[in-house]
Symmetry: D2
Subunit: 383 residues, 4 copies
């Protein structure tokens, strides 16, 4: 009989005389610890979700309670405009799934954004219109007209999963040019961002396009099922989301940040985005406990590195040092400390050295096929 919004109230005190009972499956929000950076708040957002009002499987309220439980700050409800297989059972109203979610969100503090997904065969493909005012005014099969109406309402226009069912093969590392439909949208100012990750599919080319054309990168779940049927939260998985660096936690600030390209994509254990955002997140996530080490000659040194965030980091050496060997792989799980070892190549090495250890953070992707480069400095004295 338990509903997510139900709570048990005191009226009498119950004394259980005979109880076979599990610990109550409490409803709580798992906070995801990712540092705020550059004076902005790091908001966790999913700009692509479905409900039973299109081809999703859940009532809109579930999208809100899921978002709350999973530590998100904002979601967009983006039911398909043209594809509504349950329509025969439902009263027709393209705003309805948003309205239900919005009303329910008040008791959870979740920001709900009104959206719609233009759903056309490729080309042009699928587009989310986010921050719209009235979805019913978009009810047309002419995608150009719908997108223009969306823009008139102030929409941020996101090209969804550009390689999904893309007829051009192969899907990655290709020389695919855009179709003319997409070019037109872009040239007419009707394209603001691209999903470079949809669900768990990463499109390196789309990341490249965003860099070349100055578009906003986004990563979203595009969830139709209950999220728990796709992500295993017991194993610390999380849904694909867009990190938005916003002035504050509000719908307006999110829209401003999207327009200003202040986003990073977070999927699986990977972050994708510009060097400056990823470097800052990494630096604010870790602490290195020792910068000065003294040891007897020939000995092994250890640097302790603590990851205070909920993002694991995977470091791999990105160069060599002429006098010292050092750990090739350093894996930093969430909320953990790892050791990085340093050893002189020659046992009789004595004296002081300032070492600059070059690494890549494998799971921080700053270019379509490239990871963040960083260095760890350490002063060593061997006696």
């Amino acid at each position: 009989m338990k509903k997510l919004n139900q709570i048990t109230f005191i009226s009498v005190f119950i004394i259980p005389l005979f109880s076979i009972q599990l610990t109550a499956q409490s409803i709580s929000r798992k906070e995801i610890k990712i540092p705020d950076i550059l004076g902005f708040k790091t908001l966790k957002c999913d700009f692509h979700t479905h409900t039973i009002f299109s081809d999703g499987d859940v009532w809109p309220t579930i999208r809100v309670s899921e978002a709350w439980k999973e530590g998100l700050d904002a979601i967009a409800i983006t039911d398909h405009l043209e594809y509504r297989p349950h329509q025969g059972d439902l009263v027709k109203n393209f705003n309805r799934s948003y309205e239900i979610a919005k009303e329910y969100s008040k008791d959870f503090g979740i920001i709900v954004i009104k959206g719609i997904e233009i759903t056309q065969a490729m080309p042009p493909g699928h587009f989310n219109l986010l921050f719209i005012k009235d979805a019913n005014l978009l009810d047309t099969l002419d995608y150009n007209a719908a997108i223009k109406e969306g823009k008139k309402q102030g929409a941020f226009i996101q090209w969804n999963h550009p390689f999904w069912k893309n007829p051009v093969f192969p899907r990655v590392n290709s020389k695919v040019e855009w179709f003319k439909q997409q070019k037109e949208l872009y040239e007419n100012g009707l394209l603001d961002g691209i999903e470079i990750v949809n669900e768990r599919d990463y499109y390196p080319d789309a990341f490249r396009w965003c860099k070349e054309k100055n578009l906003t990168i986004l990563g979203n779940s595009d969830i139709h099922l209950p999220t728990g049927y796709f992500y295993d939260f017991s194993k610390d998985q999380h849904r694909t989301m867009t990190l938005v660096f916003a002035e504050n936690k509000s719908e307006e600030a999110i829209k401003e940040a999207l327009t200003a390209h202040r986003t990073v994509v977070f999927f699986s254990d990977t972050l994708i985005g510009s060097d400056r955002f990823l470097r800052e997140i990494f630096n604010k996530s870790i602490t290195i406990n020792e910068a000065k080490l003294e040891k007897e000659k020939g000995k092994l040194f250890y640097i302790m590195i603590t990851n205070n965030s909920d993002i694991p980091y995977s470091l791999i050496a990105n160069g060599i040092d002429k006098d010292f060997e050092f750990s090739t792989d350093v894996y930093l799980p969430a909320r953990s400390t790892a050791r990085l070892g340093i050893k002189p190549k020659k046992d009789d090495f004595v004296g002081m050295r300032n070492l600059i250890l070059p690494y890549k953070v494998k799971n921080l992707i700053t270019e379509p096929f490239e990871s963040l480069k960083m260095e760890i400095s350490v002063g060593i004295e061997m006696k």
Copy 2:
């Protein structure tokens, strides 16, 4: 973009050149191993589920795919008759949630039973009418009329969660008498079974009533949320269900078995039911590897007990032996082997002995406050 009924088809062979990817979250059915007994098939059934057509949170298809993934054989769709908070958004048809689930079930091999939940304040409370033909004919606020119409259609009538919001306190081990409404239903042959477990609440009194009045015991999830938000399948939890001992896997055989009281309730790690069913399930689940042991005097003996089923068993000693001590607690996890130790009380004991070790299986409940008693026989020779 993944839907539970989608599969990926070959058209070209894809060569991933650059992939950051998790193992695909495959859609599969976790089989629950519980032995068939007494010539019957042990079917796993849930006779109480909700969808968005009443106050549930999911589209009816989800109830089918959940049942499949969780290893169930049959579910009943039992949306509330009188309580339909989403009705304003939906076309009115009390059969509709069943129809959608039934159609979808064909590709999963799940039996879907048409039901409805009569939803009245206590008394009389809530009643599920199972195996009905046309729910729309039950559309009345007169619960007596609705139940009679259900019976006319051949319904099995289940009294739901009889202690939920029951105004009489305390809720267990009480001398609660039934209200006259419930008595009347029973006396008029309009009550066939009682939920002795709803969700994770066990009502020992309801179990007693079923024994006294020869009613069928049932345990159901009464799920409104996606099941995965209430049960943690990654930790091997399972939904509350009714085990039905049926002639075969068919809707008709389930109905016959319910009528013949061939049921056991399975919730948390506990089975509740008559001694003969639980004893048989236990005996067919375990194998004891040694019945004859030889040892030097003063030594410790071990019996190995293997649990081949997916139900863990928890044994606790239920008596003593004058010459031997033996393990007080033996915990038998699913698909595991545990050791039971035996030791002479006196180190100089020699000779042969046939030991009968008395135990209770704590999590097999045969009476409202009593567990299954069993014995382990072992022949011992100490030299």
Copy 3:
């Protein structure tokens, strides 16, 4: 071939051409987040561990690497003095297990304390002598002589698991008086603290004794097996430990804090200790997001409570309010936010109210059979 102290060094860059490989099982330390309080550092300590030098199962280095991985700050090596079943295979030296652990600890930053466990039948039972200088000087079966020598060396003397194999029954809530042996030790200043939790056994009477006699409370693992065979770290279990509120992270500061009774026991999900320590830990762990709420009359309110620590808290209502109902149970998992609901008893209630909601934190034990009481204040305005 992997050893816990091994790391892989770069010499050449390896290009895997064909790899079936799991993510490397990296060696890292899981930090346990418990707030520092009252100007002290909260150190995580285990004052009772065994190695193969008595009847433990692991080489002493493992005790160090386990402590590091599990987020501890300090351990004592306390092999039995009189019980050394592996002695036939080992060179005799009562200091040896400490020496090996101490040497190994340098690369992990773990404090290792030299200890020994006096191991006599009850009475007097078992006693850990902690912070001793030379265990070989204690080599006598006369426990009084051994304890006096320990005290001469500056030992802190801990009575271990006082109810283990205690011949007096029942083991809890009894009127057990101490044996004269224990009284003598106490009266002669040879008893400084008592293990009120050993492994997962809690002795409420021992907690009472410590309060009455002004002794230090301790909780330890008494681990013989590898810790991972007793605690399931994948399920966020942790070993039983003593939280020590110390001036700094050093052996001396730990000893001073033990002497000054600044300890709390942490076992399962439960903390045991004085009201002032537990209240402070709780208050520094949680943040309550709203203290002022406005709503329309008849509506439900929610307060959001965030637990920033790694200790889950379980609140249960400890009283009622004449005008408002409020959540009976609030479960606050680690690093999570939960909602506490408040509802007027009468729908037509209007006006302002300062509510004081009384709760107990079930898993914070301040008296042998009593939990921490606390209140949540909230200002409400209903219009």
Copy 4:
């Protein structure tokens, strides 16, 4: 105070009046379900383990209890001959770790094999001598003499991790020739098998060598740490092991099977071995529920495939059909059922067809770089 071989005995009945307690962490054996094949028993064996008597971290008894808990049938104790860093603390006896494990194994039913690891720099590298009689007779730094003495005692000689610290780069897919030392051993009949998997490192070249030279393939854990610190059993991981197809569960039968090359390597979720063994294991693990399907034209078909074993299988399509599309990926987790979808390429296809669907089982490796090929037959009728 809990030891793995301790059990709690009844003497009085304890009534807990106040208990904060977890479910007892019971000691049990997790059975690994892998089918017996070709008239042989499938035994789970680990022929490479260390204890504190060389550079391992645990007392030999732990190797036995670990093996029991993890569902193994046999282990070899193979401490290094030449490398014994704890030797200063131990009485010298190369047979001792075996003796301790052997004595302890009696209460667990685990077969313990006496072995020793010849530990020389490459070349020649490391060799396990298995089934020896007296390790003390091998006490020489002349590896040739030691191996010959081992062979005299009836040893099976296993070349360990041939690519570990191998000075020749690259380590896989190379044209590495053996060193003369290894060739000599082979030519003199002093080489019986090779570890093609050590820990989690797979050496495809070593697999190729075994095929070319008719040597036995083996995969072992080479465990030094407690196994639980390397494998996460809570996530259903298992140690690397060798499956031995033996006449019966005895040391003699294992030796005979090793000599006759009846082995398969099981590591991570992968099996490596000859086509005939892997095909048989796969076929005896799965059941396909439908071989005949009737559907309306244009419809999607499903075949249900159940995996009854504890080995997950991952199927990938290995060809196409001119008229039908079918699932490219079918993942069959342990003890689960998955669906394989089939769809006519043209919606108007009618008639009968016997389909032969070609797949590879990705995680069954039959050649160094090749997986098991298999086909699924299904008769289809579309009306």
